[in-house]
Amino acid sequence: MKQSGKQKHIILKYLGGSTVGFINGLLGAGGGMLAVPLLKKLGLETKESHATSIAVILPLSLFSCILYLTSGRVTLGDALPYIPFGIIGALIGAWLMPRISTILLRRIFGGFMIWAAIRLLLK
């Protein structure tokens, strides 16, 4: 890799990383969706970017989670009922990942996000 390209790569990695962390801490979500395009820019393939984004977000969420819990914004019990179902979903998702094209899912998901955004903006 060329020198200038390498420097740009490093800046992108650290600046991008802190932006992902900031959004995740601020909104408690969304970091992953920013991490995916960042990882693609850093040279990973689509599926690698989606999988690696989870490894980026896990330590960040763990950190944010401790801050949210210790400051009394939320309790563990609030989240507990959702977790077993989430685990079932995670198993399905991880099984699906090497098998499907994510493009259709992304379109459906995009539509859902826009609907939710409008709903929240009008609230």
Partner: protein, 138 residues
């Protein structure tokens, strides 16, 4: 405010099950699964934004651990890049948490909506990636 009760009624379990499973699938596909649950909590259940964000963060942790283990078996995780990005992300996470305490719930919700709108449009019009483009240079 159905979200405040730890003991939930039977009909609420349906919502919990559907949103939980869908969030889990989306999270493990790296599509932003946290967003699904956060949308359910804020746009449908009308939870407070801050509480919903906290629930979402806690929810994500076990899901992420499982997904990472399974994806690592499929050799889809690039640890070096993940580590470097996460380290710089932690500084951002502290800053984000601090700033979120300064902003009112109502505004946090609007910021979240703005981000959803931008990312939603991006996802909706995302292009199909070419499969393994051949490298031109040796």
């Amino acid at each position: 405010m159905g979200c405040n009760k730890v003991v939930v009624k039977m009909n609420q379990w349906i919502g919990i099950a559907i949103s939980g499973i869908l969030s889990g699938i989306a999270a493990s596909l790296g599509l932003g699964g946290g967003t699904v649950l956060l949308i359910y909590l804020t746009a449908i259940l009308s939870c407070g934004q801050m509480q919903a964000q906290g629930i979402n963060l806690i929810f994500f942790i076990p899901i992420a651990v499982i997904s990472i283990i399974l994806h690592a078996k499929s050799k889809l995780i690039k640890w070096k890049i993940a580590f470097a990005t996460a380290i710089s992300g932690i500084i951002g996470a502290i800053a984000g948490w601090y700033v979120s305490g300064l902003i009112e719930n109502q505004w946090l919700s609007k910021i979240f909506a703005g981000l959803l709108l931008i990312l939603g449009i991006r996802e909706l019009f995302s292009k199909k990636q070419p499969k393994n483009p051949k490298k031109q240079t040796q």
